[in-house]
Symmetry: C2
Subunit: 191 residues, 2 copies
Amino acid sequence: MAHLSILGTGNMGQAIAAVAGNGGHTVQLLGENDTATQISGDVVVLAVPYPAVSDVIAQRGESLAGKIVVDITNPLNFETFDSLVVAADSSAAAEIAAALPQSRVLKAFNTTFAGTLAAGTVGPLTTTVLIAGDDADAKSALAGILTSGGLNAIDAGALKRARELEALGFLQLTLAANEKVSWTGGFGVIA
Amino acid sequence: MAHLSILGTGNMGQAIAAVAGNGGHTVQLLGENDTATQISGDVVVLAVPYPAVSDVIAQRGESLAGKIVVDITNPLNFETFDSLVVAADSSAAAEIAAALPQSRVLKAFNTTFAGTLAAGTVGPLTTTVLIAGDDADAKSALAGILTSGGLNAIDAGALKRARELEALGFLQLTLAANEKVSWTGGFGVIA
């Protein structure tokens, strides 16, 4: 059984907490007013919007040393919906990994809308979470939590692949914003 | 009824030809030994690997003026399977559009494996072709060909979105190469 800390009580944080709970894991769910509360989880999900990540790292970076830290962000320019705000040859996950050199940083959840995590399905398919990262044990630990909670998980490669995952998340958001797919649909994975 | 020219007789060219044929459209399928044959289609699909595109443009660029030109490439570094060979802030489609300023260039088919085009399905889903481009009429024409042939088609936005489509195609190829998905699977779209 794993113990997770989820920072962020929005739709994504709540959906990820429910998946972990379904799998029999324990969750500490921390909101923005809980800054005085120590993080107790070995797996920490940064379920906050990209612009809030730097503050979280400034406040809690030291306490994240040694932990698995999961970046779920889609670093879009939400004013234009036409570009990412990270460098074209980088990713939010790469930035976070650079800022947290003592943590094992994973990219996950940014390609699955909250509704598909909460339902466990996307259309006729079981929801699949794509996980990128440089630490195989950390990826395996997160995948185990997700599969015990009823989802599928796929190792999408090294943390470098976060760039492609963020492009996929960006594309999916533009499709939903333009009503080409619904917020309970999007990309599913057929193994 | 549309008339297509498909340059390239590999799995992708054959599968795209079959979809068009299913929709009642006519197809001129040209192989690498047909360089003397004039292109007769109003919609021209460059169903060749990315490294062969520049030669096709050098040989046939003038005859592509005024036509809809469809780029299907995934410009991977196939030696490393770890990066694209186009600039991080660009795309193969953007390069092709710059080289063919008198053509209406679309990006399509790079996110659908040949097997899913040939079958018309990916798992339990109808295969969906994502189309990016700056000319709405051209996108609509291609979408009409595909839906008449039994597939789904989604307008994925401006040609600038080819960058994200190429990231998605790249990611999907790495998943298949690493046996995380099969060559008849991959990403499906749930509207």
